[in-house]
Assembly symmetry: C2
Homo-oligomer: 155 residues x 2
């Protein structure tokens, strides 16, 4: 019972971008590309991660349109939304996958027709995500100055 590192890495990437780019507000739900884009290499060096895995997470964040990715020379990625528009429940649900937390089929459990358990666990899961829904990336950037310093001195 633990979030995947994959999900964790996704959140760290967003924190990195948020700390670097700042809390831009955007009316058109888009932010401008910064001068120099953040690259997968930057992330890997900062957090001491392997590029392969980060590669996939970045791609996923791109597909979710949370970041915008640019191929080619001087490419990289940046936040596609303002931090206060990136809800944590959405990020975690998408990266983590949204399977039930208890498995009643596979293999099938005979008690299923009279089982109250799966409903209770499913409701608990929703309460977890309802709570996360109250937070956005902006809430993860409360100590933005400190994060900036950490990220700039790391690697």
């Amino acid at each position: 019972m633990q979030l995947k590192k994959y999900t964790d890495y996704g959140l760290r990437i967003l924190m990195y971008l948020g700390a670097k780019e700042g809390a831009k507000e955007s009316s058109n739900n888009r932010t401008e590309a910064p001068e120099r884009l953040t690259t997968i290499k930057d992330i890997c060096e900062t957090f001491s991660l392997s590029s392969n895995h980060v590669n996939k997470v970045v791609h996923h964040l791109g597909r979710l349109q949370l970041i915008e990715t640019r191929r080619g020379k001087n490419g990289g990625f940046f936040l596609a939304k303002a931090p206060n528009e990136i809800r944590l429940d959405y990020v975690i649900r998408q990266l983590e996958g949204d399977e039930p937390w208890i498995e009643c089929h596979n293999p099938y459990c005979v008690a299923l027709p009279a089982c109250e358990l799966n409903g209770i666990v499913a409701r608990g899961k929703e309460l977890f995500y309802d709570y996360l829904r109250e937070f956005t990336l902006a809430d993860l950037l409360k100590k933005r100055g400190q994060l900036q310093q950490i990220f700039s001195t790391a690697s």
Copy 2:
């Protein structure tokens, strides 16, 4: 992000016992042993599980004093408490293990000193368990008659 089968099996065992033994009330926090005890074999046949794994879960439930186990001929196990005294949050926390849902060390994350995320996830986890705390084994036995029929015809 899913409960272990181990935990699931534990809950099914308790449901089986509760359905069979009924909703006995006990002032001294103990129930009487029934005529014929439930065995690991009974559970395995009912739910089509391997005895090895169930063996360990039964042992664990015994250590938690949720059931009482009896070795030797005519041995087996039975509920050690009334169903309404067996809280679901306790069972799941114990069987599942109570680790944090997000890993900040191992390996260490540089952002940790300024990270807001782990606290948010930890609080969400507690809300999940707070919800489970409202339920007991008795709540899983609402359709007790149907469960009894299922369990008696299965195997």
